[in-house]
């Protein structure tokens, strides 16, 4: 994948926002790839967890806000507990989701789930899905 990097992007307020929301210092990551190696959701991701961190370091806002990866993450925290640098990758994923959700860009449209299907799901599935994927 080709991406354009620039001083302007790296200094964009987006990087600050991701760091603030996630509570993580992105520059601590040295790209070992342990998070991506253990992630059970990588098969559904367009950019891998370590690349999400790298893109965030570089301020590649559009790439991150339009990626599938953050929605494939189920916050299982396998990456967090294995990161040798102690970075909470799942928190960074959540920060990117939150930036979109706070602009009312929901990932799941509750109205599109047929009522018959809705009643099949236990409350725990619906509540957690809507908590994570709607604003």
């Amino acid at each position: 994948m080709r991406v354009l990097i620039s001083h302007k992007k790296i200094r964009d307020s987006f990087v600050q926002k991701v760091q603030e929301l996630s509570g993580q210092n992105l520059l601590v990551c040295y790209q070992c790839g342990k998070c991506s190696a253990g992630c059970p959701a990588v098969a559904e991701m367009d950019i891998l967890p370590n690349q999400v961190i790298r893109f965030a370091q570089l301020g590649l806002k559009e790439e991150l806000l339009n990626c599938r990866a953050v929605w494939a993450c189920a916050s299982c925290l396998t990456c967090n507990v294995r990161c040798p640098k102690g970075i909470k990758i799942a928190e960074v994923m959540e920060a990117i989701r939150q930036i979109l959700l706070r602009q009312r860009q929901d990932h799941v449209d509750v109205k599109k789930i047929p009522p018959a299907k809705r009643s099949e799901f236990p409350a725990i599935a619906l509540i957690s899905n809507f908590r994570k994927f709607t604003s």
Binding site: S22, A74, C76, K132
Partner: protein
């Protein structure tokens, strides 16, 4: 220790088999619990971003209810409730700013919650307070010959400092199964995520995880899988329907709550096991093993 019980949203409906079986085992073990008065949903997931304090109110309110009713400990059955209550409690205790915000959000309450209610998962309570030997001594119908794979999932063990067992190789449920007389089967997917809430919008993703997890258990000889989370239970049990459609050779495997096997071994009535709530019926296997 004065122990309150927090059921959470699903234990009264889809997870009634979890609740009924667990409550029967608690009474068999002589443990008194009372449901927290006026409990509310915990929100199911802990908010991971730093500024999202309002979502911690739901779990904290439950802890406040327990404290008001004079309890110093709360036991949960659901792994997600356990995680959310415990993490919200830790967040409130570690940050004065968060604590202050929560107090102000909850200013209609008569008292403030400052931490202090201990949150147990039932498995943790068994391991640390009740003790496995006590459970073993109460077994009336040992589960001899039943090969059980224990699936812990994510939220019983992660993150570090919240989970009550080893991050990579938890053993509490395996040890419990062994103390009930069953054969605990070790398998490599015991902490692999089932896809959780993705089951609503990406059911096929969860079906493929279910397939991996169930087949890994079978490869190591398991006949049944036990879980401690109603969402894992739904995914691993119900999603086997999709797996069967995708893979004609797939052999379904019953998925049970650990409390159902405990209840069986401790002599609880079959009505408390609520096998009618399962998609893959565990009864044929349990009858074959002479357990029903």
């Amino acid at each position: 220790m004065k122990l309150a019980y927090y059921p959470g949203c699903t234990l009264k409906s889809h997870g009634k088999n979890f609740e009924d079986s667990a409550l029967c085992t608690l009474s068999k073990l002589g443990i008194e619990t009372e449901e927290i008065p006026r409990w509310n949903c915990c929100g199911t997931v802990f908010s991971l971003v730093t500024d999202d304090v309002i979502h911690h109110i739901a779990p904290i309110r439950n802890l406040l209810r327990a404290q008001e009713a004079g309890y110093d400990s709360v036991v949960t059955l659901c792994a997600m409730c356990y995680n959310t209550l415990k993490r919200a409690d830790a967040r409130l205790q570690e940050s004065a700013d968060v604590r202050d915000k929560i107090h102000r959000f909850m200013n209609e309450e008569k008292t403030n919650y400052n931490g202090g209610v201990r949150i147990f998962h039932y498995l943790e309570l068994i391991r640390d307070e009740i003790k496995l030997d006590t459970v073993a001594a109460k077994v009336v119908k040992p589960l001899h010959g039943l090969k059980v794979a224990s699936y812990y999932g994510c939220l019983l063990v992660r993150p570090k400092g919240i989970g009550f067992d080893d991050l990579e190789n938890p053993m509490t449920m395996d040890e419990l199964m062994a103390s009930l007389g069953a054969t605990a089967v070790d398998f490599p997917y015991k902490t692999e995520c089932c896809g959780a809430y993705q089951t609503v919008d990406k059911p096929q993703v969860v079906a493929s995880r279910t397939s991996q997890i169930i087949k890994a258990g079978q490869e190591f000889g398991a006949e049944v899988m036990v879980v401690s989370c109603p969402l894992c239970a739904f995914n691993l049990d119900y999603r086997q329907r999709d797996v069967r459609q995708n893979e004609p050779d797939f052999r379904p495997m019953p998925v049970l709550y650990f409390t159902q096997l405990m209840a069986l071994a401790l002599g609880c009535p079959e009505a408390s096991l609520r096998f009618d709530l399962h998609d893959v019926d565990p009864r044929p296997l349990l009858r074959k093993k002479g357990l029903l």
